[in-house]
C-alpha cells in the first residue's frame, strides 16, 4: 500500500480546496505568504487525520476482506459522521469563510482518501 503517496495527494487536494474556496469568496493579495506557509500545517493536519481515522480500516483488515468490502461496509457511516461534524462546525462558526473552507476541504479530502486507499489495493489485485 502506497500510503505516503496517498497522504501527499490528500494534502495537495486539501490545500487546493481550502485556498480555492477562499480565493473565490474572499481573497486578499496579502495572503500569498500565508498560502505558501500553510502547506506545512495543512499537510500535518491532513496526514494525521487520515492516518488516525482512515488508514486503520485498511491496515488492520486487509488480510481478511477485500478493500472494496471495507469501503462498502464502513465508508457510508464514516461519510455521514464526517459530514455531520463538518456541518456542525460550520454552523457553530457562524458560516465564516475560513471555517467553511476548512470543513469543506476536510470533508472532500477524507472522502477522496477513502477512494484512493480502496483503489490502491484494487490495482494490485490479480485479475
Amino acid at each position: 500500500m502506497n500510503t505516503p503517496l496517498i497522504l501527499a495527494k490528500s494534502s495537495l487536494l486539501s490545500f487546493c480546496i481550502f485556498w480555492g474556496i477562499i480565493f473565490i469568496v474572499d481573497f486578499e493579495p496579502g495572503m500569498f505568504g500565508f498560502i505558501v506557509l500553510s502547506i506545512i500545517p495543512i499537510s500535518i493536519v491532513c496526514s494525521a487525520f487520515i492516518l488516525f481515522t482512515i488508514f486503520p480500516f485498511f491496515w488492520r483488515k486487509s488480510n481478511e476482506v477485500s478493500k472494496a468490502n471495507i469501503f462498502r461496509t464502513y465508508f457510508p457511516f464514516y461519510a455521514i459522521i464526517v459530514f455531520g461534524f463538518s456541518l456542525f462546525g460550520t454552523i457553530i462558526a457562524k458560516f465564516y469563510i475560513f471555517p467553511i473552507s476548512f470543513f469543506a476541504s476536510a470533508f472532500f479530502t477524507t472522502m477522496q482518501a477513502w477512494v484512493w486507499f480502496s483503489r490502491d489495493y484494487k490495482n494490485k489485485t490479480p485479475q
Partner: protein
C-alpha cells in the same frame, strides 16, 4: 446525454441559491429534485409510496414558501432525505431511508468514482494518469505564476500598479462555486445508492418475533414470576401516584403560573422516566420465548394495565398543560409538550400491539419513526407563530406581550391588525410598529428567488 439535465440543474441551483435566502427557491428546487429523479427512475413513480413521499416533500416546500419557519425548513430537509432514500430501496424502513438518503446526498459521488474505476481495467487506469497530468499541467503553472506575481509585485511599483488594475469582477466565481455544488448534489441524488449492511439487514428483518430454539419451561417460569412481581408493584405505585396527583388537582382551587409550570414540567420529567422504563421493562420480558409461554396471560394483563395507567398519566399531564395554556396562552414549549404527549401515546399504543401480536423491537422502531415523521410534516404545515399570536391576543386570560414580539416575523401583520383594532399606544404600539416596518422592509428587499407568500400581502 444524462449530463445535460444535471448541468441545467446545476445552473438553476446556482441561480436559485447564490446570495439568496430561503423562499420560492426551495419550492423550485424541490420540483427540480423530483424532475431529476423522475428522469432516472420513472418507473418508481408508479409506486403509491413514492407519490405520497413526493407530495409530502412538495408540501413541506410550500410550507416554507408560506411561513418560512425553521420547523418548515427542517421538515423540508428531512422530507428531501426520506424521498431520496426511498429511491435507494423502496421497501426499506423509514429510518433506513434516512440513512440511505443522507449517504446518497453527501457522498454518492465517491462511491460512483470507486465503482466506475473497478468496472474498467488498465485502460481506465491510464485515463486516471491523464487526469493527474492535466491537473499538473494546469495547477502547478498557475500556482507558480501566482507566487511569482506576488514576489514581483513587491519588487517593482509599476508592475504592482499594473497587476492591481487587472479586474476579474465581471466573473462571478461564487456563482460558479454554487453551480459546482449544485452539480455535486444533483449528481449524487440522480442515482441514489444504499448503505449495504443496514439496508440488507433491514430487508431481512420482519416485524414478527420468532420462537427461539432455546426454549426452557423452567427458565420461563422463573422469568414470568419475576415479571409478575415487578409489574404488580409498579402498577400499585403508579396507581398511588395518580390518586395523589388527581387529589392535588382537585383540592387546589387555582394554580398560579409558576405552580402550573412546575406541575407540567416536573410531570413531564416523571413521564419521560416512567414511559422509558415501562417500555424497557415490557421489551425485556417480551423479548423472546416468554411470548410463547402458555402461562403468560397474567403477565400480559399486568402489562396492559401498566400501559393503560401510563396513558392515564399522559392524560393527567395533558390536562395540566391545557389549564396552563387556557390561563397563560400558547408558547412553543407548551406546544412541544402536546407533541411529546402525542408521541408518547403512540409509543404506548404500539407497545400494546407489540405485546398482543408478538412483534419484535424493529416493529416498534418502524411504527414510531413513521409516526414521528408524520407529526413533523403536519407540524411544519401549521403557522405556529400566527396561531400562538391569535390565541394569546384574543382568547388567553393573560398575555405575555414581549413573548409575542420576540416570535418570528410571521405574526407582524396580526400584531399590526391588533394594534390598529385596539388603538394601542405607548411602548406596545412602538414595538409592534418597529417589527411591522422591519418585516415590510425585508419583504420589499426580497429578490424573486426569495419571494414568500407575505410578499403578495404588501402590494
Amino acid at each position: 446525454m444524462k449530463q445535460i439535465p444535471l448541468i441545467i440543474g446545476a445552473i438553476l441551483f446556482s441561480t436559485l441559491f447564490c446570495h439568496q435566502s430561503i423562499g420560492l427557491n426551495l419550492v423550485l428546487f424541490s420540483l427540480l429534485t423530483i424532475c431529476i429523479l423522475a428522469i432516472n427512475h420513472l418507473k418508481t413513480f408508479k409506486n403509491t409510496t413514492t407519490l405520497i413521499l413526493s407530495s409530502v416533500y412538495i408540501l413541506t416546500a410550500i410550507s416554507v414558501f408560506f411561513y418560512g419557519s425553521q420547523l418548515a425548513i427542517t421538515a423540508n430537509c428531512i422530507a428531501f432525505i426520506t424521498f431520496v432514500g426511498h429511491f435507494s430501496e423502496s421497501k426499506s424502513s423509514i429510518y433506513v431511508n434516512w440513512l440511505n438518503g443522507l449517504y446518497t446526498t453527501v457522498a454518492r459521488f465517491f462511491e460512483h468514482q470507486l465503482n466506475s474505476n473497478s468496472k474498467k481495467s488498465g485502460d481506465k487506469f491510464k485515463r486516471d494518469i491523464d487526469y493527474l497530468q492535466w491537473t499538473k499541467v494546469i495547477g502547478i503553472p498557475i500556482l507558480t505564476v501566482i507566487i511569482f506575481i506576488s514576489l514581483y509585485k513587491n519588487g517593482n511599483p509599476v508592475f504592482s500598479d499594473f497587476i492591481s488594475k487587472i479586474d476579474f469582477s465581471f466573473i462571478n466565481f461564487q456563482w460558479f462555486l454554487f453551480a459546482v455544488l449544485g452539480y455535486y448534489l444533483l449528481f449524487n441524488i440522480s442515482k441514489p445508492t444504499a448503505v449495504d449492511p443496514a439496508t440488507v439487514a433491514d430487508l431481512n428483518t420482519g416485524n414478527n418475533l420468532a420462537k427461539n430454539d432455546d426454549y426452557s419451561e423452567e427458565k420461563l417460569k422463573k422469568e414470568n414470576q419475576l415479571g409478575l412481581v415487578l409489574l404488580a408493584l409498579l402498577n400499585i405505585l403508579i396507581v398511588f401516584f395518580l390518586i395523589t396527583d388527581v387529589s392535588y388537582l382537585l383540592t387546589i382551587e387555582q394554580l398560579n403560573a409558576p405552580q402550573l409550570s412546575n406541575q407540567v414540567h416536573s410531570g413531564i420529567n416523571a413521564l419521560i422516566a416512567s414511559i422509558v422504563i415501562a417500555i424497557a421493562i415490557i421489551l425485556y420480558f417480551f423479548r423472546g420465548n416468554l411470548n410463547y409461554f402458555e402461562a403468560n396471560k397474567p403477565l400480559k394483563t399486568l402489562s396492559y394495565i401498566w400501559i393503560a395507567l401510563n396513558i392515564l398519566l399522559v392524560l393527567s399531564i395533558a390536562l395540566k398543560n391545557y389549564q396552563y395554556i387556557f390561563a397563560f396562552g400558547f408558547t412553543y414549549k407548551r406546544i412541544g409538550v402536546v407533541i411529546y404527549l402525542l408521541l408518547t401515546l403512540i409509543g404506548l399504543l404500539s407497545t400494546t400491539i407489540k405485546v398482543n401480536r408478538i412483534k419484535n423491537i424493529w416493529y416498534l422502531m418502524r411504527v414510531n419513526t413513521q409516526a414521528a415523521f408524520f407529526i413533523l410534516i403536519v407540524a411544519s404545515a401549521i403557522n405556529w407563530d400566527s396561531h400562538i399570536t391569535q390565541y394569546n391576543l384574543y382568547y388567553a386570560q393573560t398575555t405575555d406581550f414581549n413573548y409575542l414580539i420576540n416570535l418570528s416575523e410571521n405574526n407582524a401583520f396580526i400584531l399590526k391588525d391588533y394594534s390598529d383594532l385596539m388603538v394601542l399606544k405607548g411602548e406596545k404600539q412602538s414595538k409592534i410598529n418597529t417589527k411591522y416596518r422591519r418585516y415590510v422592509r425585508s419583504l420589499k428587499a426580497n429578490s424573486w428567488q426569495e419571494t414568500r407568500f407575505d410578499n403578495f400581502k404588501i402590494h
